[in-house]
């Protein structure tokens, strides 16, 4: 029954999205308001239908309906209820359904929020968003259906006269398999996914990915309708920020999951699937900066279109890479037949979008309203910043997908590019990014002299020098590290300096106390000052990345019980080990107990362990090394149990990761800043240039496509 309910709701959602896409297009072209209203209602309907379908699958997971193949694959009787719920996105079919649900949720909210304000764009917005949604629902319905069930059908050729088949519809003469037998053989959730980070990391990442559908659909709606004024920018910017917020959260949680679960002492391994999520983040960041130039100066109209389309294209490509088996990764789903349709969809979206931009450009609808006034102007620096972001995205794309694919196709050689490649190629670009992050906010729109820009850099520059001196006094050596810290601190100092300047100016103007003045500048211009908090977060992350990358120490030693290892200022004593401990979920654990001390003072007892998850006879056993960590702001003392020896000794891999917690704290600051910047402001007005432009209406001569 649950399968039928889920399936019917899914099919109706597919029909509804197709109907909405077609009818809204006809309604827009023939100016039939009723048709557009009908399309909107159909588009809104997709969300409750997909929610119903997802709820059916969720209930099936929780109530152990193992006849449904997806439930059998991702749960078993030992799976705790909590992980039964998260199993909804634990494998290909369920996660695709969940993806569709989130996409429909975004479309639902966007339609409700933007219906009145952007009525010219909405019909085409419905078309593009619903075409995309219909494509993904189609994949779920026709290729990766989570409601397919196991059946037993008569088979004269089989030894026992029956065979097990798998299908969405009930075959002729079929009977349901024995539920007890199904429960006994059910596989269970991948152990790697049984972690808090993985519980919310995929939903955040999916929200980030699907969230970019909204600005993309608005951009396409602007191109298709010819309403290229400023409406699409206003509609798209905040949605981009929302998607960017979730993508940032997803990336941070993914890093934390890797650090806690994957057992290699780090948080970013330049894995192709990690990179597939990072590329849209980079391009989306470029768009968030570049769109300001269009708002303030009416420039870079083509470029902004290209960026938002490139961002969504990167999302689709990343999804294709993760779900098609294009790349091997610990994060990727199994190989699947959806690769070809996804590739065709990605190519189609990219080509159609590009063709629309070219067409509008030829019509002169995307011309800049201003000229670049100077190479040191803020818009010039933002363009340079965009070049850096795009270069980073391309370099990471090349290392993750380009070079391996080209090498395999044309040189018949399978290659892997590891951290050596990415560190060589991306570090210079990241440094330039930090320099621009510092300099650009000090510049101004329009003409700027080098002298005045230099004057504005004196205070933050002095702060950066003081920071470098402090690093040196704290024992940091090496020109590269000091240079890196200096640049990153400079970028952060500019953010603090600008906030302080704003607060001081308000304090003088309004005679408010410093705290109130600071709060008021944030409430009055959330976007500007939220942006500075984001910069501060990126600065803190940068400090953590430099510290944990350049100064990480590691060693691997085998210790007898009672033996002590001295390493990086710490002493670690191996007390004992408890082998064969069985957890509630059936995993077998070898747990070691270590005492961590420093200068003779005991700091903590940590328990690195080795877990082996029970599997069915036809599966390979899954083992995980869960680290024991003693963490401070200064560093993490991170220990992995690598192996137990027959003589009772144990082999440990020990990492000391300096400043690594700055990465997580910086991430929190970044998220806070993004929430501040994206938070709706009651009575908030668009910039004056936009208000003028909007009042004037769309430029003449832009016919509806």
């Amino acid at each position: 029954m649950l399968a039928e309910v889920g399936l019917i709701a899914l099919a109706l959602a597919f029909a509804s999205s197709v109907y909405a896409a077609v009818v809204s297009l006809i309604g827009a072209r023939q100016h039939r308001t009723v048709w557009v209203d009908s399309a909107r209602n159909a588009a809104l309907l997709t969300f409750p239908l997909l929610a119903l379908s997802s709820a059916a699958l969720l209930i099936a997971l929780v109530t152990e309906q193992y006849q449904i193949a997806y439930v059998w694959q991702v749960t078993n009787p030992t799976t705790p209820t909590f992980f039964r719920i998260t199993a909804l996105w634990g494998s290909q079919q369920g996660s695709l359904l969940f993806w569709c649900l989130l996409m429909s949720l975004f479309a639902f909210v966007a339609l409700l929020v933007n219906w009145r304000a952007h009525h010219r764009l909405i019909p085409y917005f419905i078309t593009y968003s619903m075409v995309t949604l219909a494509f993904f629902i189609g994949l779920v319905v026709f290729m990766e259906n989570p409601f397919a069930r196991y059946w037993i059908v008569p088979d004269a050729t089989a030894a026992d006269g029956v065979r097990v088949v798998y299908g969405v519809f009930i075959p002729a003469n079929a009977t349901a398999p024995d539920p007890v037998r199904l429960a006994e053989t059910a596989r269970g959730l991948n152990p790697l996914l049984r972690h808090f980070g993985m519980i919310i990391h995929p939903p955040m990442l999916y929200l980030g990915f699907v969230g970019f559908l909204i600005p993309f659909a608005f951009a396409m709606a602007a191109l298709a309708s010819g309403d290229l004024s400023t409406g699409w920018i206003r509609a798209a910017r905040r949605w981009t920020l929302v998607a960017w917020l979730f993508l940032s959260l997803g990336l941070l949680l993914g890093g934390r999951w890797a650090y806690d679960v994957l057992g290699w002492g780090g948080y970013w391994g330049w894995d192709p699937v990690e990179n597939a999520a990072f590329i849209p983040w980079l391009v989306g960041t470029a768009f968030l900066h570049s769109v300001m130039i269009q708002e303030k100066r009416g420039m870079l109209k083509v470029w902004n279109m290209v960026l938002i389309i490139f961002t969504f294209s990167a999302v689709i490509f990343g999804t294709f890479a993760t779900r098609s088996g294009l790349v091997d990764s610990v994060h990727s789903f199994a190989q699947s037949a959806i690769g070809t349709p996804m590739f065709l969809f990605w190519a189609g979206v990219t080509l159609i979008s590009t063709a629309l931009i070219v067409r509008r450009r030829q019509q002169g609808a995307l011309q800049s309203e201003q000229a670049f006034a100077g190479l040191l102007s803020r818009e010039s620096l933002f363009v340079l910043n965009n070049v850096v972001f795009i270069a980073l995205a391309l370099a990471i794309f090349w290392g993750s997908f380009g070079a391996p694919i080209v090498s395999e196709l044309f040189l018949n050689t399978d290659i892997t590019l590891g951290p050596d490649y990415f560190n060589t190629v991306t570090v210079p670009l990241f440094l330039v990014m930090y320099v621009l992050m510092g300099v650009a906010p000090l510049s101004a729109w329009g003409a700027v002299s080098g002298r005045s820009l230099g004057r504005a850099m004196i205070v933050p520059g002095a702060a950066a020098l003081a920071g470098v001196a402090l690093c040196y006094l704290l024992g940091v050596r090496g020109a590269g590290a000091l240079f890196g810290f200096g640049i990153v601190i400079f970028a952060g100092a500019v953010a603090v300096f600008e906030i302080a300047r704003g607060a001081a100016a308000r304090q003088r103007a309004m005679h408010e106390n410093p705290l109130l003045a600071t709060v008021r500048i944030f409430t009055r211009n959330r976007r500007r000052y939220g942006g500075f908090i984001i910069h501060l977060g990126i600065t803190i992350i940068g400090i953590g990345v430099i510290g944990s990358t350049l100064f990480q120490q590691e060693t691997q030693r085998t210790l007898a019980p009672g033996a002590t290892l001295s390493f990086a200022g710490y002493e670690m004593t191996f007390n004992d080990v408890q082998t064969g401990q069985i957890a509630d979920d059936g995993r077998v654990m070898d747990i070691t107990r270590l005492t961590v001390s420093r200068d003779g003072q005991t700091l903590a007892t940590i328990r690195p362990r080795h877990d082996v998850y029970p599997t069915s006879p036809d599966q390979t056993a899954i083992a995980m090394n869960i680290p024991g960590v003693y963490g401070t702001l200064e560093n993490d003392f991170y220990v992995l149990l690598v192996g137990l020896q027959p003589d009772g000794s144990a082999t440990f891999k020990v990492y000391v990761n300096p400043l690594i917690n700055f990465v997580w704290w910086g991430g929190l600051v970044l998220i806070f800043g993004t929430i501040v910047a994206a938070w709706p402001h009651e009575g908030q007005q668009a910039p004056a240039r936009l208000r003028r432009s909007a009042a004037a209406g769309p430029p003449k001569g832009h016919a509806t496509a």
């Binding site: 990764s329 670049f372 391309l394 050596d420 600008e498 691997q556």
Partner: protein, 161 residues
């Protein structure tokens, strides 16, 4: 005959000396530390796992490959020789950066070329825009004007509610 006997004696002596030198050169694998092994393994990828560096891979096969590295280090082979050996046995994907000069250049030079082209295109576009249109020096309400007092005035206007 005495000469041939002397020659044979010398030959046997030479073989014995050579064997002894060889045995001395081949260190006891137990003297090779895990850190030395990991230093090499860090530059390699597991030949069978999906994008998994050899120093962190936890499969049984990777434990054996790390022991193989230990044996090779004990035999006096260098970091680069061991990597070349893995590449010869398992292909270029075993190395974190391709050893083949063509593949290496393709991998490492291309992104810099792309970045240079992107930068050049950006510069050309900016210069063309500057030439094509008359300069509009409509400075916005943002900071950074010519003098600090004007800046303060604009900022104060900006922050005034």
């Amino acid at each position: 005959m005495p000469f041939r006997g002397l020659l044979s004696l010398l030959l046997v002596f030479g073989v014995l000396i050579g064997t002894a030198i060889g045995m001395l050169a081949q260190a006891d694998p137990t003297t090779i530390t895990d850190d030395q092994v990991m230093d090499v393994a860090r530059s390699l990828y597991c030949p069978v796992c999906p994008n998994e560096p050899l120093d962190t891979c936890q499969t049984e096969a990777c434990y054996r490959w790390r022991e193989d590295i230990r044996q090779q280090l004990a035999a006096g082979r260098t970091h680069d020789q061991i990597i070349a050996d893995f590449v010869a046995r398992y292909g270029e994907r075993a190395s974190a950066v391709p050893l083949d000069p063509t593949l290496n250049a393709l991998s490492l030079v291309t992104p810099f070329v792309i970045a240079a082209i992107a930068l050049a295109l950006g510069a050309v576009v900016v210069l063309r825009w500057r030439r094509r249109q008359p300069l509009s020096v409509a400075v916005s309400s943002s900071p950074m004007p010519a003098d600090a007092s004007a800046y303060r005035a604009r900022l104060e206007e900006d922050v005034r509610s």
